[in-house]
Symmetry: C2
Subunit: 293 residues, 2 copies
Amino acid sequence: MSHLVSFKSTFDERRVLVESLLEKYLPAVAMEPRMLHEAMRYSVLAGGKRLRPILALSTYEHCGGRTSSSDLPIHRAMAALEMVHTYSLIHDDLPCMDDDDLRRGMPTCHKKFGEATAVLAGDALHVVAFQLMAQTGMVQVVEELAEAVGTFGMIGGQVADVEAEGKNISEREIVYIHKRKTGALIRCSVRIGALLAVSSGQSFARLSQYGEKIGLAFQIIDDILDVEGDPTLLGKNAGSDSRKQKATYPGVVGMEQARADANRLIDEAIALVDDGSGNMLSWVARFIGQRES
Amino acid sequence: MSHLVSFKSTFDERRVLVESLLEKYLPAVAMEPRMLHEAMRYSVLAGGKRLRPILALSTYEHCGGRTSSSDLPIHRAMAALEMVHTYSLIHDDLPCMDDDDLRRGMPTCHKKFGEATAVLAGDALHVVAFQLMAQTGMVQVVEELAEAVGTFGMIGGQVADVEAEGKNISEREIVYIHKRKTGALIRCSVRIGALLAVSSGQSFARLSQYGEKIGLAFQIIDDILDVEGDPTLLGKNAGSDSRKQKATYPGVVGMEQARADANRLIDEAIALVDDGSGNMLSWVARFIGQRES
């Protein structure tokens, strides 16, 4: 039990670290273009679990990466992962896409700053993310990010998601969507953490599988929370998937199997990284399985 | 004269090369998500001068880079530069931005495929551009691109451009806008060509200045053509800057000085790269100075 408490406090400490890294690597509002920088900071610093950077760091340490200095490649990669996640949320929320007014309990970027600024703030975060990845000095992590967010990853999942609205789709298809829309960037966070620690080939493959499993589980649970979650905890209106006739995992396989599949994926992920003595990566997987927001 | 004819035919050959590189490095329509890949290809393969990739290649050869093989880092960089240029056009044309219906004589991406697909097609081209730059294996060119297109480069210029609409601005301000909105990516094309040829420090600085000068001249001439150009050659409606109360260079300094400044910048650029015997880079600078579309 004290074990679990200590992982929880490590997780919370890392959220604080992530906030400070984002603060550090986002362009300052004092510099032009001010309103754009303000919009970027507004969306990135609006909170969130910071799951992707924490996964990257936890994998990095799991693989023996050093954390002695205060400006390491892993730090830039962590900030980049959160920025690219935020860019995707800003563009997804646009009126021509999901048309959402609320995100983390606050007006979405285009509601606050207008559509033109929201498009550009997303584009700019996208650039800063690649810039920070390049600054790790490791061209391979830039490629990892590009693969994860491109048309065979996150963007491809987003397109398939939009195309599936109002349609009857199969379990194979919903897994296809979820693995790309959300899973690819989560898996990529794990892989980049391992790459920056110069992980060996075998453990890299295992970690990559771990990342894939928790990534899919994350989005299945997102769908479950959209039906059953507490809007106060979620910071957004529940039931929005159903209103938009979104393809969801419980919609395809039923709520009971959705829960069972998520639990199974989490268990399998943990078995890949934990010998039973407990570690940060298994704690994060469990955290994803039990999250309420 | 035969000299000039030969540079012109080199330029035209390189346009053909660029088309084949774009065809090669764009994702195939046969692969999912098909409609997105179709939208990406529609906008990228709609034609254009292909100035940025040709500048990169011409600088690369100017610096002694080898072109013996058919899949070189410079080829990937060339395709990336054109893709990032196209992504910026797609997003600029959106209803919430410049709201343009026509581009290169054809319906703009959102007119043809809808806004959601246009946003995502732009995002996806942005990703492929960084992916191709990473595939050069040289992390420095990824950083060059990120700097050129970020909030202190292209996106910053776009924001300043939107903010200047309908306002009286100074010559200093219009130079600020043009250097960023258009100039930064043109300068970056030159710099990346030099970097990939492993150029020496001194010539790199000169080439970088060359890139900066032709980049600014390019956008000044764009403004002049918007007033005086032939819509048939331009492939878009002329006079759109004035209708949108855009800040333009001739609007700030007058048409006569605009022409003189563009000519001076072109002459200065040529002096930086040509000893008087003529070469491809001075031809391209002259081409920019004399273009009608």
